[in-house]
Symmetry: C2
Subunit: 324 residues, 2 copies
DNA sequence: TAATTTTGAGTTATCGGTAACACACATGAA
DNA sequence: TTCATGTGTGTTACCGATAACTCAAAATTA
């Protein structure tokens, strides 16, 4: 129809008919059907953002950055929330494929996400991987510097005199968990401290569901004097569990973690954290993705590693109780 | 094609061809195109959730509830974030219309959202209104009890001996702001206190951008001894600004607000709040919406009003400095 | 065995857009 | 005036699925 030419400003149209069409469009409250358009154009102008926990401020801040960047380039966003769950992630990947989105910003649940990423790749959907690297999958990635951030946190604790520092980590199959462990190890090595493997526990980033782990740590002959929780959700759970056991932070035990808590921490700063630039994760990731989609064929994969910032707050104190 | 019959388990198909089709589908990694399907079926199995601030834990918790409920019924979710901005909201409404979503869960930015809601209605898109009522628009709504919640907060302050309580409110054209003001008023009236209009300020729920307002309050001959911030974002801003001015909460001034902060407050409880059941907002709203879409024609509009819970924490204290 | 019903699979039209082409008419150059 | 070019609009095919229909072959019934 001539209408299509008016809407898209393509082809030749006389000013008279253009006005006539516009008028009728207004009268009928006509709005083009983007599905029909996508069907013929073979692109949807929809991108997908898959995150692993929508109640975690780290990820919602990512979402905000991604949304802003997508909007700037005229894309809509289809959100997905995998809840750190491989099966939910699979469902979302199926949905993404059937929706024929133009690209995906993908925060994987773990190494087993490889299968999902490959599935997307097989269908020629551009993917940018976010926050966690997946061994065996090559694509643009935006990561935090987990190792360095972890080292900073642990060195901070060591500087306060702590020698027995527990690591309550995410799952083994998540790259950031491995790297945070590596940073933990490096901090010990650089300070000439030996590591007690009994102080290291791998759980899940989603929440601190297994409190028996904490009891096992606290009942050791020489219990830890500080805990490094590998992300904010774990820290929430750990501190709650500590409180239930009558222990106060930082009086009885110091706690640090990765990732900040958003607004709440600005009101009432408490946790010492390695804060990652979440908004940038989202906006830079989205930029890379859009470049892939719209730009000339980019050959080499790009890897952005964003530094984290050590924010020393009230949840840590020197071992003897006084500040150093 | 026969394939369609296999996918949808409709019509008559022999087991042999069914298997043959399945096999080829697997080989080709075939995934049905949901846009093409939507086009002919005239429904997309996509719902939209429009919230006003994706970095506010209140709304992300709503999102979580909505997502869970949508998933249970096999719907996908298209998120939008209006940022309390009428223009952004308009953009999302256009997008919603062109995507032909099956329904919208809509948290309006304010009374002027009426136009957008009517536009959706005109296109026969089922809408459930969330969190804020829009005068002149009739639909299912899920609301919090703003008046009651506000009254509880203010009565708590009055019970602590406060007599000069400032109200830092959202915008005039948002129903919850008006109701929270009404609750504030009611608490005063019931306690036989007169209200000083100079203590009441209307701003925006989005953030506390105008700090001069705070200076004006503090420089009064009889400055307030407590502040009721109408939502959590305002409280964040107010407390930050107070701190910059060398004032501590609750030592120098008590602060209460509507809406909780998510996980952070469980770690380190600080703000006295009227916590709304955000997850229920989302899941119940989504349920109403899906009933509208799938159920028999429901005639009357439903209005759910969910109570809030007063959580007394550390940001309030008795006027003389000692606890009551 | 013939007539009837059932079964399984193919055909066509359609949803609402866009690309590519066709073509009538106006305009300009030779 | 005649032919080439330009301009505006209409036509057709198609994107990938599904509903409704058709129809041959197989199964059932009389």
């Amino acid at each position: 129809m001539t209408v299509s030419r008016v809407i898209n400003n393509t082809g030749r149209i006389s000013e008279a008919t253009r006005k006539r069409v516009r008028k009728v469009m207004d009268e009928l409250h006509y709005i083009p059907n983007s599905m029909a358009r996508s069907l013929v154009l073979q692109k949807s102008k929809i991108l997908s953002l898959l995150i692993t926990d929508i109640t975690n401020p780290f990820y919602t801040t990512i979402a905000r950055g991604a949304e802003d960047a997508a909007k700037r380039s005229g894309y809509r966003l289809l959100f997905g929330n995998s809840d750190e769950d491989y099966v939910k992630e699979k469902d979302y990947v199926d949905m993404i494929l059937s929706t024929r989105v133009d690209g995906v910003l993908f925060a994987p649940t773990g190494d087993q996400s490889l299968e999902h990423l490959q599935q997307l790749q097989k269908h020629n959907i551009p993917v940018v991987v976010l926050d966690r690297e997946v061994p065996g999958f090559d694509a643009d990635v935006v990561l935090g510097d987990s190792k360095e951030g972890a080292r900073n946190l642990v060195e901070h604790l060591i500087g306060l005199g702590h020698r027995r520092i527990a690591l309550i980590n995410g799952a083994h199959d998540v790259s950031t968990a491995r790297l945070r462990h590596a940073g933990y190890r490096e901090a010990h090595l650089l300070s000439g401290l030996t590591i007690d493997e009994a102080l290291i526990v791998y759980l899940s980033y989603r929440d601190f569901h297994d409190e028996s782990v904490l009891d096992a740590l606290l009942q050791q002959p020489m219990p830890p004097t500080a805990i490094f929780a590998a992300n904010n959700m774990l820290a929430v759970g750990v501190i709650g569990a500590l409180r239930q056991r009558g222990m106060q932070v930082p009086r009885d035990i110091s706690v640090v973690c990765f990732d900040d808590f958003g607004h709440a921490e600005t009101v009432n700063p408490f946790l010492t954290v390695a804060a990652q630039p979440a908004y940038q994760f989202g906006s830079l990731g989205m930029q890379l993705l859009i470049e892939r989609i719209e730009g000339e064929a980019i050959l080499e994969n790009r890897k952005l590693i964003l530094p984290s910032e050590l924010l020393i707050r009230a949840s840590t104190q020197a071992l003897n109780g006084s500040l150093p």
